[in-house]
Symmetry: C2
Subunit: 381 residues, 2 copies
Amino acid sequence: MQEPSGRPVTIAQVARDAGVSIPTVSRVLNGSAPVAEETRRRVDASIERLGYHPNPMARGLSRGLSDVVLVILPNITQPSVNLRLAGLISVLRETPYELTLVDLEHPDSERKRHLADIVARHHAAATVIISLPPSTADTLQLLRQAAPVVLVDVRSDAFPGDGIDDIAGGMIATRHLLGLGHRRIGFVGDAEDRFIGNPASANRRHGYEQVLFDAGIDIRPDDIALAPHGMDTAKAAALDLLDRSDRPTAVFAASDVQAFGVMDAARSLGLDVPGDVSVVGFDDIVTARLVGLTTVRQHLEVSGVRAGLRLLELLGQPLPFEMPEFPELELVTRSTTASPGDAHPIRSMAAALTGAAASEKEVSTAFDPAFGRDERIPRRK
Amino acid sequence: MQEPSGRPVTIAQVARDAGVSIPTVSRVLNGSAPVAEETRRRVDASIERLGYHPNPMARGLSRGLSDVVLVILPNITQPSVNLRLAGLISVLRETPYELTLVDLEHPDSERKRHLADIVARHHAAATVIISLPPSTADTLQLLRQAAPVVLVDVRSDAFPGDGIDDIAGGMIATRHLLGLGHRRIGFVGDAEDRFIGNPASANRRHGYEQVLFDAGIDIRPDDIALAPHGMDTAKAAALDLLDRSDRPTAVFAASDVQAFGVMDAARSLGLDVPGDVSVVGFDDIVTARLVGLTTVRQHLEVSGVRAGLRLLELLGQPLPFEMPEFPELELVTRSTTASPGDAHPIRSMAAALTGAAASEKEVSTAFDPAFGRDERIPRRK
DNA sequence: GTTGTCGGTGAAAGCGGTTTCAGTCCGCTG
DNA sequence: CAGCGGACTGAAACCGCTTTCACCGACAAC
């Protein structure tokens, strides 16, 4: 605990202090070779006394591999991304790996940030890419380098990863509305350059269209509104959809964030949810529960956990716990959906406000999001 | 772009390929000394052809300083923490620094993770600590090491940082309720070990008490409910507060998350917000807008930005932009507060659902949270 | 015509670790 | 008692890069 201020303590100082050679200290540190009990004690004492911490750069250089896992994601404030990251972190916490974060924020702006270049620049032990589909060029380049790559929220033949079945998800949501008796069902999703973007929204729409088709319902083009991802943009799109006398009686939004936009639009038109319009979202982010949004739940945090475990496998590390098994997708029925004409305005609004636990089929998991979790556990009591 | 697969390309290979010495390549890379135009061209060509990226560990080791900024925080899924981090990231993005993330998640569990040890272990160029007050021992040890430390959401004499004036914030919230005519005002805040925890909640309470005192209002002990931080715990605490015939007509919650708990409690008691109970939160996280919560806004993302800029200063780096000036705290009036007895149940509920933009005094900033921002900008159009 | 000075370059010495290799010193076996 | 293997240790090489330092040629200054 001395640490004479200034430059950090080096292994050489420890060796000198303990009266041994540098390699011996290294052996004590890593247990890479037998060290006499007495020697070990002396070394440990010196380490403690000097407050020595091995320099991770030197160690990494020497061993030829770093201990950092590079994580690349589009935007950390995005609730879904955030939760996936949290899941990954919870796994990495149990390992000797560090986490280096690269937030692209505007991944496709000018497209100048090539994923593969970012990866190459970092020389990390492994890379996790969240919600960003690598281009073909990226894929080729990533395959050429040695460090493993794991994808989250993206399916690829080239890399392990766990995208969900978005088509099935779209079908679940649409069937729910159909089951409630809706026949005019709108869709609000991403308008995006599909060469770059995540195809999730498009696939959810495919599921939606498939179900309607199977039910013999014609899809009216003007019941589909696309806008760049975001709550406000979705609201604008939803206004087009809902500000008509022959509006749909229900809307399936490709994400919870967009569903909020739809609800906001409904509100500003004086429409009751679900009295006048039912709304279904997708993801089940934390806020969905708060607002009482009916949605298709995917286990966001679990996807991060899985990626972490898969990574450890690839790195030949022991897994701190088992790969969790979760239903991939499930409908969470809350208070933004009802049969057409089946409105109880006041009750439903009130319920919507706080997520009417009574009517909700909740599943408790080991990975509850932060809102439902106590951050500070009172100690000794 | 060849990269013969396997081991990453080294500077030696580039040097050989370009027919120059290693130092020359280094000079081209860093512009640290003049290089003949012709030579430079050859080297650049080799770098490009081989797909060379300097090994950051080797570089760091050699230069004696790393390019990573260590960020330690309590829980990344916590909206306030998340936003602060996002602000920091936006600054670091403009610099050559990498960001390594350590999420404690349960910072005080067993207290075994000493901040100073984490910092020492990483040998980073600098450290940012978000929403975690260092202990005295930590502080001493952190001061002893060379790399700068910046605090976010914590005030300290030892390190630069920008905590807000929580007492003033508590006063703002309470005065608002007082101004609406409330005389029985409850408080819901953190029950915590103040030796470890962040004193924010306690300070907000002090502000609250001060205002009531100045107004000549007696504070009834049972109008104050404390619980470990979290929405569900706050709900339970609020139930105690509100499930009485002589309940308060308004509640000031020490954070938005806790305010949501209070609203949830009110809902489950069949109380209308703000008809029967007004609720004020603190922070103005994204969700607050969504739910229409009246709250005391602090510019969370800006706090991260400031920390980033301050860090760059300490590191002697040029600042990518100016230090933003923002009002420290401001009341954002939405739809969860009203004068006692001044209820319009249906309207207010509906408004609450989506944040009734009309009645809201919004301030637009350059740092809008994700919900209000388009994540994917459609290109070429 | 000798000195500087400066652009341009390479040899070599680190940076702080790990790892190979070559011993010592033992205790055992045959 | 020679021979052997294992426990334990240190010298030295190496990881990939930066940074002196020395050197060479060219050109300006005296």
